[in-house]
Subunit: 255 residues, 2 copies
Amino acid sequence: MATGTVEANAASDRKLTFDELRAAMRRVGEERYHHRHPFHLLMHEGKLSRGQLQAWALNRYYYQSIIPIKDAIILSRATDPAFRRVWRKRIVDHDGDANRNGGILRWIKLAEATGLDRERVIQGLEVLPATRFIGNEYLNLVRTRTFLECVASSLTELFSRDLIALRMEKLRQHYPWLASGLDYFEARLTEAPEDAAFAIQYVFDHAATRAEQESAIRALRDKCDILWAQLDALYFAYVEPGWPAPGAFRIESER
Amino acid sequence: MATGTVEANAASDRKLTFDELRAAMRRVGEERYHHRHPFHLLMHEGKLSRGQLQAWALNRYYYQSIIPIKDAIILSRATDPAFRRVWRKRIVDHDGDANRNGGILRWIKLAEATGLDRERVIQGLEVLPATRFIGNEYLNLVRTRTFLECVASSLTELFSRDLIALRMEKLRQHYPWLASGLDYFEARLTEAPEDAAFAIQYVFDHAATRAEQESAIRALRDKCDILWAQLDALYFAYVEPGWPAPGAFRIESER
């Protein structure tokens, strides 16, 4: 299920140093991370309508809802208790505990701030089929690829802090009525970099060969493609040309 | 991973008769089968360029290539040798045998008729990520849903004969240079109805309750959504607004 394109510099068998590996990962992000996606550009320019932000919040909720499932699959494949102790933090971050709401509830608050009813978001009946299918590919990835690639696929978190910081600024500026819903992003500002620091060190320490390093880079590319394709589906349905699939969320006429 | 919308008439517990079940299936097709998709409408009006037909052939090849895998998964879940004897025909139809090319090779001939190089099609490096992710959902479906739903999901073949007959007429009319590539469709004109006749009889005989019948109808809907979403991705990348994902097939400038 992976694409086979090989990085241009993979001709060498020499293992990348930690800094080279991180630089290669960052190049993937520059090219393919969804901070470049036209849907996000419109968002940051304040050009999305409330209905389009609702469609975003509603669809992205599907992705949020499967992230702890993704992490539980990784946990189920991890044989090292020390790894599992670190990784389970991610599940707590999203599902919460007795003392703290998790990311899923915080995302629901964001969706509510766009004006959507909580039950409508949780039920997910109006999620675009493409959103589900593309999101499920992340589950396929962590079920079928090597363990190293599973860990590497999480490394979009290397790039998320900058995107989230920019997004919070732009959302506050252009959509001040969303301000009450930004707790999710606030939390991710610290969670994501911690997680990424662990994961890239893990990938560096456990990739035994250059070929394994390249497979990790490819897994990160594939993950970027998953994020990108979800926004394509959203753009296509709700910006231009504007035809949500049958049964999917439709934007009500807006002032 | 299924959506939960229930057919309006599911309030009753009465089992549908064979004719009612088939009629309910046909209603799903009327509403959701991809014969209605704007990409197909443009194709049948002769409004797609050669490059757009190349993008279609190249991307749809991915779907063709996983169909025998899908059928092998169903075979692997079938406990009845009689069922397996019938179902394995589908794998032969697509993979061929010593005497006959299968559907996959015939699809490659179609792609070649559009002007694509065979190796480029088989390698699949330029397939849209969304095409792969959405196609893979069909594999998810046959891995995770009930056996009855797996069989029911094949019932888009109830609708494919009419679409294929129309398509062959329109392709010959508007794109006569494609004529040498139409063997795939010719074969499907007889294969698909045979397969559908078996599958709908199986679903009727093995759905013990109305609820199971409704689950079969829902599986057919989900399959329609998979076909539809693949064309959305194609339309979005190659018709309007026209941005294939990074690394995906790009249409060369056309006269």
